[in-house]
Amino acid sequence: MEITIRVNGEQVVRDVEPRLLLTHFLRDELRLTGTHWGCDTTNCGACVVRLDGVPVKSCTVLAVMADGAAVDTVEGLAHGAELDPLQEGFVTCHGLQCGFCTPGMLMTGRALLDRDPDPSPQTIREAISGQVCRCTGYENIVRSVRWAAEKEASKEEVTP
């Protein structure tokens, strides 16, 4: 079946089997391997991407279900050479060690900040509660998101 998806702002057209999962479509068809394929059972959240802006677990969405939609992956977060403030936050606050969960954490964190520019640590913890990190104990991820929230707030203050 032919599908058309806007991936990170760019329209792609592919002929796919209906049973192809979105995560494999991104990784194997488009070679966008930033989206990780983790538990395969909707638990770990390593495969989170944004589907029309909404974070979803791409191991549990068929590629054909995304036909006509916009999909954003971790590859689309940075603006050229300039990292997204959330990515900077992860670098600055050691929001990752092995990095396996990071793409999913970034996509959920970005969606959270877009809705709620000043989330409390508790709100951040709830937002990432469907995602597993085995390195950081989550503390540094929460700090990273807070760091980005504060950076974005301070940016807005100086720009009239």
Binding site: R19, T60, M65, Q131
Partner: protein, 290 residues
């Protein structure tokens, strides 16, 4: 790597189109809504539809609105929308209580009210909450619509009143005055299925329980209802003792199975405690105290 077996895929563009597609593709075709139960089952080859009919395009079934003395939720309303709805929170605190415990926020972005009910998993939370609320569901087929009480909707594990060629389109929840509700779930870890859950709805007439609704999940209660416990409360004073007794009765009459989530006596003990606590919280909310 988990891969579903091959299937044909159709995108429904309206409710009538979905029903026509079901008729055209026969009894081996299935509707997919959020897909967060069905797709995992297909990956495990526990479900093997010949054709998958995608109703995610039916955004006209994604709504929460007040009509008369009911709140109506469209079948394609996502869990996240229910959790955030001010209308739902105002009238039925039991629903955000329950929604907060369903899977995780990312899954709730995708999973739907209609899909959860039609999946009819015996451990599903909204089934218990809607049973406690005495909601109705609207089922559409080629000939028209019918309204079925939620308490008659579930025919058994993974079986509902929705026949092939039919589509659940709406849930209707009655708004009652002097009423409060609450839900509580015990799970092994965040986002897991319930070890046991209870939801209570209490309507007061002064200090008397005018009507009570008690829903249970994961413990083998017929239609997710603790009917005997409800009977013990109706028309009697709303006291802590009555709620403890209702919990005891609910625990006695439910039929949990021993599994990796715990033995039978543990689950009965949970039911007793959760029923008592949710009755107390529902009553406090009915009195405007919580």
């Amino acid at each position: 790597m988990q891969v579903p077996a091959q299937f044909a895929y159709e995108k429904a563009t309206s409710v009538d189109h979905a029903i026509a597609l079901l008729a055209r593709h026969g009894p081996e075709s299935l509707i997919v809504a959020g897909g967060h139960s069905l797709i995992p089952m297909m990956k495990l080859r526990l479900a093997d539809p010949s054709t998958l009919i995608d109703i995610n395009g039916l955004t006209d079934l994604d709504y929460i609105r007040v009509e008369g003395d009911q709140v109506r939720l469209g079948a394609m309303t996502r869990h996240a929308t229910v959790l955030e709805s001010a209308v739902v929170r105002e009238h039925f605190a039991i629903l955000p209580d329950a929604e907060r415990t369903i899977a995780d926020p990312i899954v709730r972005n995708r999973g739907t009210v209609g899909g959860s009910l039609c999946q009819a998993d015996p451990s599903e939370d909204l089934s218990a909450a809607f049973s406690a609320l005495r909601a109705d569901v609207v089922i559409r087929n080629a000939d028209g619509e019918r309204v079925v009480p939620v308490r008659e909707f579930h025919l058994g594990p993974y079986e509902t009143a929705v026949a092939h060629g039919e589509l659940l389109i709406e849930v209707r929840v009655p708004i009652r005055t002097h009423t409060g509700s609450a839900y509580q779930k015990i799970e092994r870890r965040a986002g897991d299925w319930a070890v046991a859950s209870a939801g209570s709805v209490v309507s007061l007439d002064g200090d008397t329980v005018a009507e009570a609704g008690i829903g249970l999940t994961a413990v083998g209660a017929p239609h997710f209802v603790a009917a005997e416990a409800e009977d013990s409360l109706r028309g009697n004073p709303a006291t802590a003792e009555a709620f403890t007794e209702a919990g005891r009765i609910a625990a006695e009459h439910c039929a949990p199975s021993a599994d990796q989530r715990g033995p039978v006596d543990y689950k009965r003990a949970l039911v007793a405690e959760l029923v008592t606590r949710t009755l107390q919280r529902a009553t406090a909310r009915a009195r405007g105290e919580a």
